[in-house]
């Protein structure tokens, strides 16, 4: 009843060769990617790897994640058992755990037995979930069931194997079955239970069958792993180590010199880390379940984008390695392996996908790289963007309004220009705050509050230019680069150090994107400043306002998810109204986008349900009198959405307006 090394050894070597070949064929393609630095701050990286990979932090954020946690840790524990199994197959009877000192063997055997049981339960639960309540309908893949079945087979075989070992030992030693099994149950509860049930006469056959079932399943698993989504077993841990340490709320700069290529039009133009991401995707579908585009029926599916990058790399890899060009287009309608233009333009860059991904895949920068290729190299983009691009480049605002009208909002106010020697804060009003008739009210409220609190502030007036957020997220990096350079030069020349913004898009661009241009500004969102002014007693409210009625707060993606500002706007609302705002079902880092980010503000929304209506209806579930926002785009999307659903009695107010209401009326 011993395994036969003469049969097993060549099988193992062949399997390892297939495994190595599979890994090499795929992972070597990563070297086709462009260079990118991902080895800085090793300490932080190790910490993040422990937290996200071994601690499964993001995985267990969802209820079913615990199931995966069990499979993951069982898997790690069972590496010991499987190593023993393989060594035993190669050199029968030489290496056995049972030869370890008793004090070491007992807990180890116990752990392995329990881990096997937990893994068996977990894969059964996973299979049932996939049948009855899959994370997304397409998740019922043969691939998934095959792997789950394989793991279950391994567990059952290993129980049978251990049980037959125990039974054989019991009969051979002539021990009393009752007391032997009672003792054994304390060490290997499941195997011992099974041992009592095995027919004594067929033990040898059962052992051999279980051993070979285990062997074949294990070797098949090894062969299959690299060519399936279960590759993530190898890539997820390094991927967590290599993730971008700063929030992926910006995109890398491009160098505009003749002969360079711009954006990503061929899969080898992605960075090596982007390619590694594609091999790390587990297809869990959490990204698509939070993506505002996917949920409202747009063709964009972040999971599919990552999958298509992988498929494209596999199909074109061999040719690209030889220096030939791609056969399957990365952008196009060629099906699997190609990302459609329509889905590329559907992204609101809200970052929900990246926030949800358990293995820290960075979807958004990849989509923007595709946009860059379309805009900068192919000049293919939705036609409504042509005016936007020209307005931004020619007049530095999205509407193409004459720059001389930038100060119209403050014609009736006494506002000082920013002066490096006497002014502390630059109030960077932003295009919406300067030109949009609704949003000008927010600028006025802010101006009054800043004066009331005695803040030293000024504006750039007619010299203020657009920050360039929309063009950057839309992939028009060339124009963004020009705008960013001009702004950075002006901020340096004027001695600007501290900036207040009332728009999260200006906020993130000045704070995060301009750092790539060597400008470190202290940027504060108006909600944070107002919160601080109240806390420091510089804005004293002698009453709260009842004008707002019941409030609910909507998180702006670029304030919340992209920059972690969640509490300040809520604190401002609470200070002004006396009660914290109600929360929508999806709030804070899981908040649902208004639909205007990533340049979607300037594009038509033809397909599926409108994103802003989805969010408006979610807000209305809280029965608010006022929906509070902290972003001009959100403001527009909510005002439009409320009109569309005819909720005429519900107001939209920026947090500054709420504060001004309590302060001045």
């Amino acid at each position: 009843m011993t395994p036969n090394p003469l049969v097993f050894t060549p099988l193992l070597l062949a399997s390892l060769a297939i495994f190595a070949l599979g890994c090499w064929k795929r992972l070597s393609l990563i070297s086709l990617g462009q260079p990118e630095e991902r080895f800085d701050n090793i300490g932080t990286r190790i910490g993040d790897m422990l937290r996200y990979a071994f601690g499964q932090k993001r995985v267990i954020a969802k209820p079913f994640g615990f199931n995966h946690f069990i499979i993951f840790w069982s898997f790690l524990i069972l590496v010991i058992a499987n190593t023993e199994f393989i060594l035993n197959g190669l050199f029968p009877h030489t290496i056995k755990l049972v030869k370890l000192p008793f004090e070491l063997y007992v807990p180890l055997a116990f752990m392995i037995d329990i881990a096997s049981l937990l893994a068996l339960i977990a894969v059964t639960v996973a299979a049932l979930r996939r049948i009855f309540a899959p994370p997304y309908p397409e998740a019922r893949t043969l691939d998934a069931f095959f792997i789950l079945g394989m793991i279950a087979t391994l567990m059952l075989a290993s129980f049978t194997l251990n049980a037959s070992d125990l039974a054989a030992y019991m009969f051979k030693s002539g021990a009393d079955p009752v007391s032997f099994l009672a003792t054994a149950r304390k060490i290997m509860p499941v195997s011992a239970l099974l041992a009592g049930l095995l027919p004594p006469l067929q033990l040898e056959t059962i052992h051999a069958a279980a051993w070979w079932t285990h062997a074949v399943a294990l070797l098949a698993f090894i062969c299959y792993l690299p060519i399936s989504k279960h590759m993530h077993i190898l890539t997820a841990i390094p991927n967590c180590f290599l993730h971008r340490l700063e929030k992926p709320n910006t995109q890398p700069r491009e160098e505009f010199t003749v002969g360079n290529t711009f954006g990503v039009g061929s899969v080898d133009r992605y960075s090596w880390k982007d390619l590694l991401d594609s091999f790390t995707c587990t297809e869990c579908g959490r990204c698509q379940n939070v993506c505002p585009a996917s949920i409202t029926g747009k063709p964009l599916n972040p999971r599919a984008v990552i999958h298509d990058i992988k498929v494209n790399l596999l199909e074109n890899g061999a040719a690209l390695k030889k220096g030939a060009t791609s056969q399957t287009p990365l952008i196009g309608e060629a099906g699997e392996g190609s990302v459609s233009e329509e889905s590329i333009w559907a992204c609101t860059t809200c970052g929900a996908c990246m926030e949800a991904c358990p293995v820290l895949i960075e979807h958004m920068p990849k989509i923007i790289q595709l946009r860059r290729h379309l805009v900068e190299t192919e000049v293919k983009f939705p036609e409504e963007l042509l005016n936007l691009f020209e307005n931004m480049e020619g007049r530095s605002n999205p509407w193409g309004i004459a720059p001389s009208e930038r100060t119209k909002w403050c014609n009736q106010l006494d506002i000082k220009p920013f002066d490096r020697d006497t002014t502390e804060y630059l109030f960077y009003v932003g295009c919406a705050g300067s030109f949009d008739s609704r949003n000008k009210h927010v600028s006025v409220a802010m101006a009054q509050l800043l004066d009331k609190a005695g803040v030293s502030w000024g504006i750039l007036g007619k010299d203020e230019k657009c920050c360039g957020d929309s063009v950057r997220r839309l992939g028009n990096e060339y124009v963004f680069d020009k705008m960013a350079r001009e702004n950075v030069a002006m901020f340096i020349e004027r001695g600007v150090k501290k900036v207040i913004t009332q728009c999260p898009h200006c906020f993130t661009t000045l704070k995060n994107d301009y750092r790539q241009y060597g400008l470190e500004l202290e940027v504060i969102h108006h909600s944070e400043l107002l919160r601080n002014l109240v806390q420091d007693g510089r804005l004293v409210l002698d009453k709260t306002t009842e004008e707002m009625g019941a409030t609910v707060f909507h998180d702006s993606c670029y304030l919340g998810r992209h920059n972690d500002v969640y509490d300040a706007p809520r604190a401002v609302i609470e200070a002004a109204t006396g009660v914290p705002p109600a929360e929508m079902e999806r709030n804070r880092n899981t908040a649902f986008c208004c639909g205007a980010g990533g340049g979607r503000m300037w594009m038509e929304e033809h397909v599926g349900e409108r994103i802003n209506l989805t969010r408006v209806n979610e807000a209305l579930e809280q029965k608010p009198d006022t929906i509070c926002v902290a972003c001009p785009y959100c403001m527009t999307m909510f005002e439009d959405g409320l009109k569309d659903v005819k909720a005429n009695n519900v107001k939209v107010r920026d947090v500054a307006e709420v504060m001004a209401e309590a302060m001045f009326r």
Binding site: T257, E376, L386, E390, G394, A402, S404, H441
Partner: protein, 271 residues
Amino acid sequence: MLIVVCIKQVPDTTQVQIDPVTNTLVRDGIPFIVNPYDTHALEEALRLKDRFGCKVAAISMGPPNAEATLKKALALGVDYAILLSDRVFGGADTLATSNVLAAAISKLHAEVDEVGLVLCGKQTIDGDTAQVGPGIASRLDYRQLTLVDKIVNLDFAAKKIRVSRKLEGRHEIVDAPLPAMLTVVRELNRPRYPKVQMRLAAAEAVVDVWNNKTLQLDEQKIGLKGSPTWVSKIFSPERIKGEILGNGYADPAGTAALLIDKLMAKDMLPL
């Protein structure tokens, strides 16, 4: 066959100020753009290039900084860009301007290739005269087809063109032999957006500058001396200050009612 596009650098915005003393436009601090109608002429030339493989030359008369306008044309794909710039060209009216542009077109015809078409915008947004295009056609003795909103047919080999002209309330289909001068309206096409590669190449390209040494024109026919037009006064009509009715923010319905009453009282809202 060569297509020549005449483009002009004009000050942007409708907020152009007029110097009350010199009666000229104050250009300080106002960004310059390519005259919007000219961008449509340029686009049409580039579409013909894509279709027939002919070459396109862009020419512009203006100060040295008008080079930027020609670089934009290069970024969009023209083959030749020539700036006609000389102090003696300055202060030109539409007659003197058309003399210079016509001379440049003749030179291109003689030295580069046979000119089949000259394309211009229907007018510029600064002068708004719509005379330069027809002036060029007259100087060169080309057929002139103004206000073109569609090239229906073009046959370079047979030297024939058929265009649609957009007139008030009607269209006119016109046949003409080549060479012809077309002025175009905005409905003709949608101008393209430049590729970054082309912009970078254009930024490094050298724009040819032709001065009067190159063109050898009689100084009495160009610039201020060659301009019989003189401007006695330019002014912006005074805008009567409006009034703010009601409070549209607090009471949109009531304010709309106020506005309707006001318009009806002035008989501006026929019911």
